[in-house]
């Protein structure tokens, strides 16, 4: 965990009082809605269909139990008793009152949480691998660099009014759990042939109306130069990114229009001017931030304790364990994913009671730490394997032990037309229906790893382009229709899915998905050939035939 010091605390308190003043000026009419809009967006406040929506940042997906309790408190005190975890390590509340927002922010500030730059045309929450610091084989903890970037990007005087929003993601593992290739800047931490640690820098990834997979702009940037290199990219973008058309304003369009070589050259020229500046991260500066992260003192524990051997006879425990428990860098410990995808529930939602209970369990079994992943699930990152059976019972009791992690019903979905003013179609009921169709665990297990992503509009908050199966809500003559893509993925082999054919009606979506899954089961070469692999091997055609032959 990163511990805020006095300076970090002072800054967020100053932010809270600034926003309190801004809200006051809005309520008194001194600020017009147009002027206020940008200010509230920079504090994560959207105006949605029914009410204000409030988005709070969970930097690089790490939470303490105290912080999670504060999130529960906000849900209970200022909202309707629940929150929604998003695909970018944020939590959203849907029913906040404007006049109460400054108080909610002040309560969160007490535990070092804020909503700065969770919306608006600025640098957004820096996201990372939810297993950072505990994943086996990781180069080093990417959260040190995420925190350096969090500080660097917070209230940046030059880059707070960019052409469009700007998102960073960092990973330090060979398997990318942070979806860095669909971010404006993706950073892959690795050690080069000389043994030096640095970053492969990718730029111009993003979904939305014009999806692009990020391209490598520089294969190796040493850690000390990270901030100056990022500043060079942001400066080129701030000056030359398009501002005439909101749909062409992201950096991906600039990179696409200039070409990656030309863009890289512009950045390089700028970088050489600022490379040796106050932005250089001397090792002492990096160590200073590193020293503010605390790590658990692990015990020496057996890999296969008695408790686990005994529980292995319980098939219900076993199916959960196989599905939700992952290897940890320390022997005797495990990473446990908590599914926020119950059958029939809205993906990514947690009630205040669940959050409080998870915080208690984290204190008891995970050194007080919780993680939030872009798949809209939570994780307990340091669980002793001997505690798994008792933890499972406790998690099951509060409804977060559905054994469907990475399976077909572990659906990623945006809030859609049930909440969002941008949406063209509903996402949540589609997800709910699909979880019912695939509620049978044995079937889901037989299907294997399969990610379904649903977005209620082209803005793609549900990352539908990179779902193994992507579902995109569109509107045709006032009716909800859905385009289906297959073969997308968000990991180190990121790819955009391909459209299988004409959009289908709301009532047909679940049937179509079932058809696609059945086609896959019939077509796969081996039981362990994943859905995406079958699509890669055979292309869209056999799936198209299966879906449209009878429609």
């Amino acid at each position: 965990m990163y511990a805020y010091d006095e300076l970090d605390r002072t800054l967020i308190n100053e932010r809270v009082s600034e926003f309190r003043d801004q809200v006051k000026r809005r309520l008194s009419g001194e600020l017009t809605e147009d002027e206020f809009k940008m200010l509230r967006l920079q504090n994560g406040v959207y105006l949605q269909l029914h009410a204000y929506m409030f988005r709070v940042a969970i930097p690089y997906g790490t939470l303490s139990s105290k912080q999670l309790r504060a999130l529960a408190h906000v849900a209970r005190r200022y909202d309707r008793g629940y929150g929604h975890f998003t695909t970018r390590q944020n939590i959203q509340y849907n029913w906040i009152k404007l006049a109460e927002l400054p108080d909610a922010l002040a309560d969160l500030a007490e535990v070092g949480i804020h909503a700065m730059q969770t919306s608006g045309n600025n640098t957004r929450n820096v996201t990372s691998d939810q297993w950072a610091g505990v994943a086996p084989g990781e180069i080093e903890d990417p959260r040190i660099w995420s925190e350096l970037l969090r500080q660097y990007t917070t209230l940046h005087p030059e880059f707070s009014f960019l052409p469009r929003k700007f998102k960073f993601a960092i990973t330090a593992s060979s398997h990318d759990r942070a979806a860095i290739k669909i971010h404006d800047i993706g950073l892959r931490l690795y050690r080069n042939a000389e043994g030096e640690t640095g970053f492969e820098v990718l730029v111009g990834g993003g979904l939305g109306r014009t999806p692009f997979i990020a391209k490598t702009i520089k294969p190796f940037v040493p850690g000390r130069d990270l901030l100056s290199y990022v500043e060079a990219i942001l400066r080129v973008y701030n000056q030359y990114g398009r501002r005439d058309n909101i749909y062409k304003a992201r950096i991906k369009i600039l990179v696409h229009e200039l070409g990656i070589e030309k863009f890289a050259q512009e950045v390089e020229e700028e970088w050489l001017q600022i490379r040796d500046s106050a932005l250089t991260l001397d090792s002492s500066v990096v160590e200073e931030v590193r020293s503010r992260f605390s790590y658990p003192v692990y015990e020496k524990l057996p890999h296969m304790p008695e408790e686990l051997k005994k529980a292995a006879h319980d098939p219900l425990f076993e199916r959960w364990r196989r599905n939700s428990v992952f290897p940890h860098k320390m022997p005797g410990y495990a990473i446990v994913t908590l599914s926020l995808k119950p059958v029939g529930g809205p993906p990514g939602d947690a009630t205040a009671e669940q959050m409080d209970a998870i915080a208690d369990l984290a204190d008891k079994y995970s050194f007080g730490e919780i993680r939030v992943g872009h798949e809209q699930n939570l994780a307990l990152p340091h669980v002793a394997r001997r505690d798994l059976p008792v933890l499972w019972k406790a998690l099951d009791k509060i409804g977060v032990a559905t054994p469907n992690v990475n399976l077909v019903s572990d659906i990623i979905a945006c809030p859609g037309l049930d909440y969002c003013s941008l949406a063209n179609a509903r996402s949540i009921p589609i997800a709910q229906e699909l979880t019912r169709r695939f509620a049978n665990h044995d079937t889901a297990n037989l299907i294997g790893r399969l990610h379904i992503n649903i977005s209620g509009c082209i803005n793609a908050c549900g990352h539908h382009h990179v779902g193994h199966i992507g579902i995109l809500g569109v509107e045709k003559n006032g009716e909800e229709f859905y385009q289906i893509t297959i073969g997308g993925r968000a990991d180190e082999n990121a790819e955009l899915g391909a459209l299988i054919g004409p959009a289908v009606k709301y009532g047909e979506v679940a049937d179509v998905i079932e058809d696609i899954v059945e086609a896959y089961l019939a077509l796969r070469a081996r039981p362990d050939e994943l859905f995406v692999e079958t699509v890669k091997r055979l292309g869209v055609e056999p799936f198209r035939e299966r879906v449209y032959a009878t429609r």
Partner: protein, 171 residues
């Protein structure tokens, strides 16, 4: 539109002269980039100071050769959402060493003052009277800064390093 300079409301010594209006023989003037670049030599020979309004979609490189003759560079925020002039300001101050007045014009509102100060602006044509009056207080809203810019404010990281230094020196 009040001008804030040196932290307080001041009278503007510069007269905005439109492109089709005659340039007065003396006195401080603020003119467009296009007019200035038509004949920078002649304009610089005038009695009276020169200020140039530089558009936010043109590289400041084109202005760099003339910076030592200019008393004011005014950068433009067509709306407060358009942040290009922040980059221009930092380049003029930090890379090209411009020492004259750097003026923010356009939709200049209270909530951008501190960003502008940090980017190197020292004069502000403020849209609203109330915002101009609130300048001093608004500029003091923050005491912690995460990024180094040319404004000399110490960053949080470096404050921490200093603190650590003084702690270890005291032991």
């Amino acid at each position: 539109m009040p001008l804030v300079k040196g932290g307080r409301i001041a009278t503007d010594a510069f007269v905005h002269v439109a492109d089709d209006a005659e340039l007065p023989g003396d006195g401080a003037v603020l003119i467009s980039a296009a007019r200035f670049l038509e004949n920078p030599e002649a304009i610089s020979r005038r009695l009276g100071k020169t200020g140039v309004i530089w558009p936010n979609n043109r590289d400041v490189d084109d202005l760099v050769p003339y910076l030592d003759r200019l008393a004011v560079v005014a950068l433009v925020f067509p709306t407060f959402r358009d942040g290009r002039a922040y980059s221009q300001a930092r380049l003029l101050r930090e890379r090209y060493g411009f020492k004259g007045e750097l003026r923010a014009t356009g939709q200049v509102l209270r909530d951008q003052f501190l960003f502008m100060l940090r980017a190197g602006f020292d004069a502000f044509e403020v849209k609203k009277e109330a915002d101009a009056e609130a300048f001093t207080n608004t500029a003091k809203r923050y005491s912690v800064f995460y990024q180094p810019t040319g404004d000399g404010r110490l960053t949080a990281l470096h404050q921490r390093m200093q603190l650590r230094h003084s702690e270890s020196a005291g032991q």
